[in-house]
């Protein structure tokens, strides 16, 4: 009796130590990760904040970026993002829907398509850029333009959208589909009115990830949407994205560092604002319509 009590105490002490060590290591890892982000943000604020003013957001690029603002680039970036999301979201969600609802899981077609999607995800962005330049700019005659850049990015974020939507659809309760079928709903109604709304939180996560990826992309845009710092008049104009501007200031412009930091700060803020808006809008819409509170 006493033996077993002793041994259990000893085990408890040992596992107590292990627990504490594990908790400490986990906590350290978490703080390190958060600290890294904090450090980056702090550095950007320290270097970039002094140059920020209203005119920085509205002004044109002057003296290769050492002076002036990023107004046209902000507009170009947003336009590139729109040109990217408009085709990418329906394509990505449609592809995931087809994989999850229309073909049998594990069938040859399904495996070929998912394999293709995963392969697409592993293509380096510079290769996407080269492809975009050859295909959109030259072959389709779109030239260096916001449209070419957006479409190239669309191809790049497709795998993210497909994967996240597919995961969301596959993790839905399996009995939703028979429930819909048993009420005589068509497959279209079942997908549009029941499955998609239920998968919406996952899809929104995919879209926000895609937005982050698209806005921060540089390599793929160098060859496709170009360097022009003029105010874009249409999506057929060349337009420099914020990320390309940062790259240019940091590498090609002497004393461009501080302005690069300011631009980076603007880009970071833009991503955060767009993501927050996407999450908020979708939550409000979903709550009103589909996911009421308990």
């Amino acid at each position: 009796m006493s033996f077993s009590a002793d041994s259990s105490t000893r085990t408890a002490t040992r596992s107590g130590w292990a627990d504490r060590a594990f908790g400490f290591a986990g906590g350290a890892a978490a703080f390190l990760t958060a600290g890294l982000f904090g450090w980056i943000v702090w550095d950007l604020i320290r270097l970039g904040w002094p140059h920020l003013s209203w005119s920085f957001f509205t002004g044109e690029v002057e003296d290769a970026g050492r002076q002036g603002g990023v107004g046209p680039l902000l507009i170009s970036s947003v336009l590139i993002l729109v040109c990217c999301l408009v085709p990418a979201v329906p394509l990505g969600v449609g592809c995931a829907l087809w994989l999850s609802e229309c073909v049998r899981r594990g069938s040859l077609t399904a495996r070929l398509v998912t394999g293709g999607v995963d392969l697409l995800a592993s293509v380096p962005s510079i290769v996407f850029g080269l492809f975009g330049m050859v295909f959109f700019c030259q072959k389709l005659g779109m030239g260096f333009s916001i449209l070419s850049g957006g479409l190239t990015l669309a191809g790049m974020i497709l795998p993210i959208l497909v994967r996240t939507t597919l995961t969301a659809l596959e993790s839905l309760p399996a009995d939703l589909r028979p429930a819909a079928a048993a009420l005589g709903l068509t497959r279209t109604t079942s997908i549009v009115r029941i499955l998609l709304p239920a998968a919406m939180p996952g899809i929104v996560v995919g879209v926000t990830l895609g937005i982050g990826r698209a806005l921060s992309e540089t390599a793929a845009l160098l060859f496709t949407s170009g360097y022009s710092v003029r105010w874009p008049e249409s999506i057929h104009d060349s337009g420099r994205a914020l990320s390309v501007h940062i790259y240019d200031l940091a590498l090609n412009v002497a004393n461009g560092g501080p302005m690069a930091s300011s631009t980076a700060l603007v880009l970071l803020a833009l991503i955060l604002i767009i993501n927050a808006a996407a999450v908020m809008l979708s939550e409000r819409w979903m709550r009103r319509r589909y996911h009421p509170e308990a």
């Binding site: 009995d175 005589g184 996911h291």
Partner: protein
């Protein structure tokens, strides 16, 4: 609603009849050569041990087996008016409106209670303004109206298991089916909720034709007019005995049915 006014009538006509029905999953025969009639306005209980094809049989009655890849159904299933359910070009969607089903696990859509009715009713052509009345009628029928009338805009999945199952029954009833199938509707519920659902099923008698798969022989004894006993024999599920509940439950002629119903096997 179809009502059989004369409930004392001994043998009513068949609302749904099945002839030589076989359900296969690839090479596996789930249930073989079943011929069975479901009398109009009566409750038919399908009983038998697990794995004897009762659920496969039930799901084939409104073609839900179509959803399962590799599943093949042969034989005849006919509604009272001659509608051939098993026909490859049968209007499956209209058919599923006429033959509703309630599953083992409650499966409300993860949306508001109201949307759970709006989606199927709109699909079948109801006008938006007629839906609230219909919803209230069926929710009253299942005794859920008082509990949810002030929270129709709230999520259906926040209800208790028993409430969810009654909601699913109400949702099926909203489409005015002629036949309603129950696939072990009480087995995921606690005894009290189970009793409530059982009473509801019993209350459908005379108005609807009911087929219920149950493992609970006491439940079959309480609510069924007719009983069909399934058994796994010669590598496939088969119907070994069927008839009026009183006779089949008290004095089955098949020896396996006798030992199963007597609680000795299965």
């Amino acid at each position: 609603m179809n009502s059989v006014n004369d409930s004392t009538e001994t043998e009513s006509i068949a609302r749904l009849s099945v002839t030589s029905l076989t359900v296969r999953y690839g090479d596996l025969v789930a249930v073989r050569d079943v011929t069975l009639a479901f009398p109009d306005g009566r409750i038919t209980a399908l009983v038998g041990p697990s794995g004897c094809g009762k659920s496969s049989f039930l799901h084939s009655l409104n073609r839900l087996t179509d959803l399962i890849p590799g599943c093949r159904v042969t034989g005849g299933i006919r509604l009272f008016d001659g509608t051939d359910i098993a026909h490859p070009r049968a209007d499956v969607l209209a058919l599923r409106r006429r033959i509703g089903i309630v599953f083992q696990r409650p499966n409300p859509f993860p949306q508001s209670i109201r949307r759970n009715f709006e989606i199927p009713l709109r699909e079948h052509g109801w006008h938006r303004r007629d839906i609230p009345d219909k919803m209230e009628t069926v929710l009253r029928q299942v005794g859920l109206w008082k509990e949810v009338s002030d929270r129709l805009h709230k999520s259906a999945v926040a209800l208790s298991g028993g409430q969810q199952q009654r909601l699913c029954l109400a949702r099926a009833l909203a489409l005015d089916p002629e036949v309603i199938l129950f696939d072990e509707p009480c087995s995921a519920l606690d005894p009290i909720a189970s009793g409530v659902v059982e009473d509801l099923i019993h209350s459908l008698r005379d108005r609807l034709t009911v087929a219920i798969v149950t493992h609970n022989l006491a439940q079959a004894r309480r609510i069924a007019d007719h009983v069909a006993v399934f058994w796994h024999r010669d590598g496939a599920g088969q119907l070994i005995e069927s008839g009026p509940a009183g006779r089949v439950l008290a004095a089955p002629s098949d020896p396996d049915a006798m030992s199963y119903l007597g609680g000795m096997r299965g």
